[in-house]
């Protein structure tokens, strides 16, 4: 997928002035947050399970080479194939060559962010193979030729009326007088249309929420059942998975599953959790004859052993973006690539470079809600700070900002100078703003005062007041 992350500011500006988007984003605020709180409250062990889930992934990442080898051996033993791919390009080619070997014309797909990451649909289309997205949200954005704006609710930016218009535009063979004003009618229509596509498809492609080393199994978690029809009906099932999806055992998978749906949609468990091991067995009456796993690195192995390793614990639940004030305001498309919100702000620079995506870790208020709700306890704000530091070190911040930060650092590192300078500045501001209590305009702070007043300080610094209080405390004792 072509990134527009470098244009975050323009993207965000446009988003803030898009009334349809702003209306749709209201559903994020109301749809996810309360449900997660209730689901967590119903399970007294929820926080302990989060600790264990984190520990499972930490252990797995520390032994990733061995777990991947064990996983691969088991897949092969079960009659499946593993295609190791270092880059997005290799992964696209691997999928294409499997499709070609089966003379595939259409491919059905379950929702997969990795497939977006490697721009798989575009590649298949360019080579004469039609990809059909079957998750309702993915289907809607495929019709709209848009990227997803949320990792678990890819069409969260679209309103019902827009879906109706898209269905009328594309489903031309259905009677134009049909009613599509209710969500249920839209769901029904998609069900009908896609049912035919499942039956025609030659290959089914799904992502994976987990790969289990013990059994050589891939796991998908869905609510619609589209992933199951996608992987059961065609001749071949291709799984696209990145290498950090591996977990050791079924037991470990169960522990993480207990925090996944609760954090994502506030469900206790998603409707369908499906474990796939190899192709159909000779005696099976249905199921795919071939089973392929595309095992993709695409930059992840170089995150190991760095300050960004913790990001590889991410299970893509979307809780961080559901709770992010910046995401709520600007929507997922503003982030300009596959992964939006706080997890995207950390992961995107790792995968496509901080030169392209440096704005994302800066688009945070550091309110800390993302880290507070992350089931895998990923320190997202800390990692955004690491990216800001790297950006600074690599001289990518604008010259004016660099100068200001360097000047501040110079002063801040010298306590006496700092106290003297701040008391001077605060004293002056306090005197100047005493009458109105705020400033309409302030030199060097035009970016702030263009949109709001700057409150006048009291005239004395916190440190000065603290020191005085300590003195008074001692005197009165």
């Amino acid at each position: 997928m072509q990134s527009t992350s470098h244009a975050f500011k323009q993207n965000a500006h446009r988003a803030l002035h898009d009334p349809m988007l702003q209306k749709a984003m209201g559903h994020v605020r109301s749809g996810f947050i309360d449900k997660r709180v209730q689901a967590a409250a119903r399970l007294p062990e929820f926080d302990q399970l989060r600790d264990q889930a984190k520990a499972i992934k930490d252990h797995t990442l520390a032994h990733l080479d061995h777990y991947l080898e064990r996983y691969e051996a088991k897949v092969l033993e079960m009659g499946g194939k593993v295609h190791w791919c270092a880059t997005a390009e290799e992964a696209r080619e691997a999928v294409l060559s499997i499709c070609r070997s089966l003379d595939a014309r259409t491919v059905t797909k379950g929702k997969s962010m990795l497939s977006e990451e490697i721009a798989l649909n575009e590649h298949l289309e360019a080579n004469g193979i039609e990809p059909v997205e079957t998750d309702l949200g993915e289907y809607i954005i495929q019709l709209r030729k848009e990227p997803p704006s949320h990792i678990i609710a890819p069409a969260v930016h679209v309103n019902k009326e827009q879906v109706e218009a898209d269905f009328r535009r594309v489903h031309k063979n259905l009677p134009p007088e049909r009613s599509l004003s209710e969500a249920a009618q839209l769901v029904d229509e998609a069900r009908q249309v896609l049912r035919q596509r499942y039956l025609e498809a030659d290959v089914g492609i799904t992502g994976a929420n987990f790969l289990i080393a013990e059994t050589g199994t891939s796991v998908i978690v869905t609510n619609e059942g589209n992933g199951d029809l996608t992987q059961t009906l065609p001749k071949a099932h291709i799984v696209v998975a990145s290498l950090e999806k591996v977990v050791p055992t079924l037991e470990d998978c169960a522990t993480i599953l207990r925090v996944l749906a609760r954090s994502a949609t506030g469900q206790e468990f998603s409707s369908y959790t499906t474990f796939s091991t190899g192709p159909r067995r000779p005696e099976d009456p249905d199921g795919p004859e071939e089973y392929h796993v595309i095992l993709l690195d695409n930059g992840r192995s170089s995150m190991l052993g760095t300050e960004f390793q913790d990001m590889l614990r991410c299970i893509r639940c979307g809780a961080c973006m559901n709770h992010c004030p910046v995401y709520h305001a600007v929507g997922g498309h503003s982030y300009g690539w596959v992964y939006p919100g706080p997890m995207g702000a950390v992961l995107t620079p790792s995968l496509i470079g901080v030169e392209e995506a440096g704005h994302l870790p800066n688009a945070s208020t550091f309110c800390g809600r993302c880290e507070a709700v992350c089931p895998m306890r990923i320190p997202l704000p800390k990692m955004m700070r690491h990216w800001r530091e790297r950006e600074f070190e690599q001289h990518q911040a604008p010259a004016k900002a660099r100068l200001a930060i360097e000047a501040w650092a110079f002063v801040a590192k010298r306590p006496r100078l700092y106290r003297w300078a701040t008391s001077l500045l605060i004293g002056a501001l306090g005197r100047a703003g005493r009458r109105r209590g705020r400033f309409r305009e302030l030199p060097l702070a035009g970016g702030w005062t263009a949109h709001r007043d700057f409150p006048a300080p009291s005239g004395r610094s916190f440190q000065a007041r603290w020191a005085e209080q300590q003195r008074r405390g001692r005197a009165s004792r």
């Binding site: 061995h66 064990r70 309702l136 949200g137 169960a254 959790t273 052993g305």
Partner: protein
């Protein structure tokens, strides 16, 4: 250099892997013992309490549960269910001995019964379950010659026959039973099914019946005092 070698090499380099650092043995041991992590208290129940937790959890997520006392009551329960929902008296059944052994002809003579994998036209399927998990009202089914996976997803109505002895508290108990029943390898597909198909993709409002079954009906065979 193959991508496999390059990727594994990059991982080993990043992790600072040393020969003889014990990592391989640690992995070996973990896979062999597959120890349980924390199992929530919720599912640690027995007898009637376990069955009623399973039922109430399944109903919370829009499945319907009907309890019968004996095998002989199942065919009638299924026929009645079809009638209640205005469905034609026709089902596609899993070719599984537990389902075949039920007295269909005797107790539900008007019901037309076909066997095998699902056809796109089938409206109702009847399948057994491998297990049921009380903690979230989850059914566990798996593929095999007697249990085609298409039956779980293609028809709009899915009727699952569960025995009280199949109901367990937590997922971990299912893993033990799966390993015991399939020592060589897991079946091709293991489905954990928790309620009927649903979507929230249009304005985050819940709609049932997105692609899989619109209705999930569970017939639980449990005599009084059975567990």
């Amino acid at each position: 250099m193959s991508s496999r070698k390059a990727i594994l090499g990059a991982i080993r380099h990043s992790l600072g892997r040393q020969r003889g650092d014990g990592a391989e043995q640690a992995v070996e041991a973990r896979l062999r013992t597959h120890d349980r992590n924390l199992v929530p208290q919720r599912g640690c129940l027995e007898g009637e309490a376990l069955l009623s937790l399973f039922s109430s959890q399944a109903e919370r997520i829009d499945a319907t549960v009907e309890r019968v006392a004996t095998d002989a009551e199942v065919p009638e329960a299924v026929a009645e269910y079809l009638k209640r929902n205005n469905l034609p008296p026709r089902v596609r059944m899993a070719p599984h001995p537990d389902i075949q052994a039920l007295p269909w002809a005797e107790k539900a003579p008007l019901l037309e019964v076909a066997e095998g994998r699902a056809d796109p036209q089938d409206l109702v399927s009847v399948t057994p379950a491998f297990a049921a998990v009380a903690e979230t009202g989850t059914l566990v089914l798996h593929s095999g010659p007697q249990t085609p996976t298409t039956l779980n997803f293609l028809p709009e109505n899915h009727v699952v026959v569960v025995r009280a002895s199949q109901v367990v508290g937590a997922y971990e108990e299912v893993w033990d039973r799966l390993r015991a029943a399939n020592p060589a390898a897991l079946p091709r597909t293991v489905n954990m099914i928790t309620g009927p198909s649903r979507t929230g993709d249009i304005e985050q409002r819940l709609e049932l019946g997105a692609h899989g079954p619109r209705r999930l009906h569970i017939v639980l065979i449990a005599e009084e005092g059975d567990s």
